[in-house]
């Protein structure tokens, strides 16, 4: 019972620190919103098209690119200079210019030229296949129309209509696409979901680490010593401090879970399974905070070390950049951190509808991390106290 009182003091101290409140309640939300807007808003490469010709053949080419196999987000900058700038600074992957006179050149039997512009990297060559394909299709039609025009002596316009009709009726090569993979995330994943899962793990750990400074403060201010002087067993004090750290981590975790679920519609899946991962990871944060709290010498040092370790482990464990895009060996290395296990657990439960049975390995690993860290931290804390 007294242990809960000690834990309660820890929590009250947390809520009095206005700057700390920003990190717990504001920054994670800002990150979820911004990252969701950046990575959720777009999936396809961006192609900018500037059409300087008003003719139907130019419009036809653009439509053919829109309908093509490569899914593209088509932007239409107002002029060539803007297109050029956007491609240079990377806000467009590729640009296409259909020059004035395009339509007339094709009608008069001349040669029309379109220009793709892009940075001198291979993305240019890969994405320009989308343009090349549309061009090949229209070129085949124009060639046929020119043949008809020469042979039948009819105007180009009429010849083109005949050619288009024949082209539509000619069996072309039918390309079937079959998919084996499920993509980076399952179909229908909310834009905010992976980000919310990552930020949950990132901030539960970071908040625990910053709360580590309070362990030191308790020692420095002599609170721990005075508690020892009271008729409270040393075990009760240790349990109380551990519970305090755990409470802080849980407050952070549950806040992000509920806020993201209600405000952004992030699915967390089976409540029991998701809850177990949150609790297990909160215990890991608790242990890490105890360890830093007893081994660091002063508040400044623990604060700096905590922020650094929290960010580095978060980055390494896939809480900043999604684990899914890590190449080997970084993907394997990531699983040396508890973060990667927690994120994998949340993905399975929240995005793939997994239950407790599907995340047993993740729970076991998090349990091991938590046990090791809490044991080391509280054993050392007991030693510091009884000195």
């Amino acid at each position: 019972m007294r242990a809960f009182a000690i834990a309660g003091v820890n929590l009250r101290r947390l809520f009095r620190d206005r700057i700390g409140l920003f990190f717990i309640f504001v920054l994670p939300v800002v990150l979820i919103v911004v990252l969701g807007a950046v990575f959720g808003g777009r999936s396809a490469p961006r192609l900018g098209i500037v059409v300087l010709d008003g003719g139907p053949l130019a419009a036809d080419l653009v439509q053919s690119i829109r309908d093509g196999a490569v899914e593209l987000e088509i932007k239409t900058p107002s002029d060539e200079a803007r297109l050029q700038t956007a491609v240079e600074d990377g806000s467009l992957e590729l640009g296409l210019v259909v020059p004035a006179g395009y339509d007339a050149a094709l009608r008069d039997g001349g040669q029309a030229k379109v220009t793709v512009i892009g940075p001198p990297t291979t993305v240019l060559s890969a994405l320009r296949r989308a343009v090349d394909t549309a061009v090949a299709e229209q070129a085949a039609r124009v060639k046929a129309a020119r043949l008809v025009q020469a042979k039948a002596g009819i105007p180009f316009e009429e010849a083109l209509t005949i050619a288009a009709g024949i082209q539509a009726g000619t069996p072309v090569i039918d390309v079937t696409v079959e998919r084996l993979g499920e993509g980076l995330f399952p179909e229908g994943t909310t834009a905010f979901a992976p980000g919310a899962q990552n930020q949950l793990v990132m901030f539960m750990f970071l908040t625990s680490m910053t709360a580590a400074t309070q362990v030191i403060l308790s020692r420095q201010l002599g609170v721990s010593r005075r508690m020892l002087a009271a008729p409270i067993g040393i075990t009760t004090i240790v349990v109380g401090e551990v519970l305090g750290r755990f409470g802080v981590a849980m407050v952070q975790g549950l806040f992000i879970v509920f806020l993201s679920a209600f405000a952004f519609g992030v699915p967390w899946g089976d409540p029991l399974a998701a809850g177990l991962v949150v609790v297990a990871f909160a215990l890991v944060g608790t242990g890490a905070a105890m360890v830093v709290g007893v081994f660091a010498n002063d508040v400044d040092q623990a604060g700096a070390l905590g922020i650094m370790a929290g960010m580095l482990l978060g980055a390494l464990g896939g809480a900043m950049v999604p684990l899914e895009i890590f190449p080997e060996p970084m993907h394997s290395i990531a699983f040396l951190t508890p973060h990667a296990w927690a994120i994998q657990g949340f993905r399975t439960v929240g995005l793939r509808g997994g239950g407790v049975a599907d995340i047993l390995p993740e729970l076991a690993m998090l349990g091991l991390f938590a046990l090791g860290l809490v044991a080391l931290g509280s054993w050392q804390f007991r030693r510091v106290l009884s000195r």
């Binding site: 806000s91 001198p120 890969a126 070390l305 650094m308 970084m330």
Partner: protein
């Protein structure tokens, strides 16, 4: 002036042994830049792996292999390997060894030559874009091989002639003789995007420079609490001298932190920052902006904890909005516009501008904005901070 330098030198000597300063000003930005550039696959170029199964072996299948598919390989867009059976190719896609498989079924060439429907199969893996590009290339090839057929049929239909073999052969010859009506020319633009290694170095340098810049000016509040400030003021040193000394410490810490990141990422990660003078200008201007903002915060804070926390809040919020955690080129337009309110965006923009070559003139705009930020925030901050040092 001399007194300011003495104060600054004393503080800086202390910082050398201070582990907090080492963590936040040097180790954290370097560690994160290193992690990001090894964790994130190289996005500087798109590359994909295809496996091709040719179950047909006919002339048109050969044409596909030697034409457009070889073209992809020549352009270094794709690495193309072959497999003997569809099952083997499928297994490779499933295992993630290749991004997509292209299967040319038996009878493909014969079907096209007979004017019948022919089929090609693309088996895609996790990368949607790889499968889409394969499909697009095959569609383009389809238009090419059927172009002559379409021409002959259209000419026959328009002239209502009897499709005799000799006429068909002549029309086909004429169709082949028609030159390409449309050409696609490529125009490479200047590259104003830093490589991903440079980008991560730059974004972490500008994120942590704020933590580095806090060490001098925040010390002012600590000295006041410890009572050392009062003792300094009792000596014949003016408040401005003390203030100037502390600001100098912040500035030096900021410059050192960023310079170490620039130099270390160049040597260890192979980042290419561009013209050294221009980079030095950007670093100095950013350090001035960070020092200005740190001074502003100190001007309004009561205790050093409060100042440290507030600087962390300002630094992280500006970093999130300013593109330290993702390239702004990927951001929606509204956010990209908002980011221009942050020093982060201007520093990163300057580094990106240098990627295409060019010297200090190229980044003059960024430097001016950063200096203006430093002047305005620093000016207000100094005016407020005098209150801290005034006895």
């Amino acid at each position: 002036m001399r007194a300011s330098l003495v104060i600054a030198a004393k503080d800086l000597r202390q910082k050398i042994g201070d582990r907090s300063a080492l963590f936040l000003a040097i180790l954290a930005p370097l560690g994160l830049a290193f992690l990001f550039s090894t964790m994130i696959p190289n996005q500087d170029g798109f590359h994909t792996d295809y496996v091709v199964v040719d179950l047909d072996g006919g002339p048109i299948a050969q044409g596909l292999l030697a034409g457009p598919l070889q073209g992809l390989a020549d352009a270094k867009v794709a690495t193309i390997t072959t497999a003997d059976t569809e099952g083997a190719a499928r297994a490779q896609v499933d295992a993630g060894d290749v991004d997509a498989a292209i299967v040319i079924p038996a009878g493909f060439s014969a079907a096209i030559q007979a004017g019948e429907a022919a089929r090609l199969l693309v088996i895609g893996g996790d990368s949607t874009l790889s499968a889409e590009i394969a499909r697009s290339v095959l569609n383009g090839f389809g238009s090419d091989v059927t172009a002559v057929q379409v021409g002959v049929r259209a000419a026959l239909a328009a002239t209502a002639a009897t499709p005799e073999p000799s006429l068909i052969a002549r029309l086909a010859g004429d169709a082949l003789a028609i030159s390409a009506p449309i050409v696609v020319s490529a125009d490479a633009t200047a590259d104003r995007q830093a490589s991903s290694k440079t980008y991560y170095g730059a974004s972490m340098a500008v994120l942590f420079v704020f933590f580095a810049a806090q060490f001098g000016v925040v010390g002012l509040l600590a000295e006041r609490r410890n009572g050392t400030l009062a003792r300094m003021l009792a000596s014949p040193i003016g408040p401005s001298t003390i203030l100037f000394g502390k600001v100098l410490v912040s500035l030096v810490m900021a410059v050192v932190s960023m310079s170490v990141v620039v130099i270390a990422t160049t040597i260890l990660l192979g980042a290419s920052w561009g013209d050294p003078l221009a980079v030095a200008g950007l670093v100095l201007a950013t350090a001035i902006a960070a020092t200005g903002i740190a001074t502003l915060v100190v001007g309004f804070a009561r205790t050093e904890e409060q100042a440290g926390g507030a600087i962390a809040i300002v630094a992280l919020t500006l970093a999130v909005l300013g593109g330290s955690f993702f390239p702004l080129s990927q951001a929606p337009e509204g956010l990209a516009a908002l980011s221009l309110l942050t020093p982060h965006a201007w520093f990163i923009r300057g580094v990106n501008d240098l990627a295409g070559g060019g010297g200090i003139g190229t980044v003059a705009g960024s430097i001016l904005v950063l200096l203006a930020v430093g002047a305005v925030t620093g000016g207000v901050g100094l005016a407020r901070a005098r209150r801290v040092v005034t006895p």
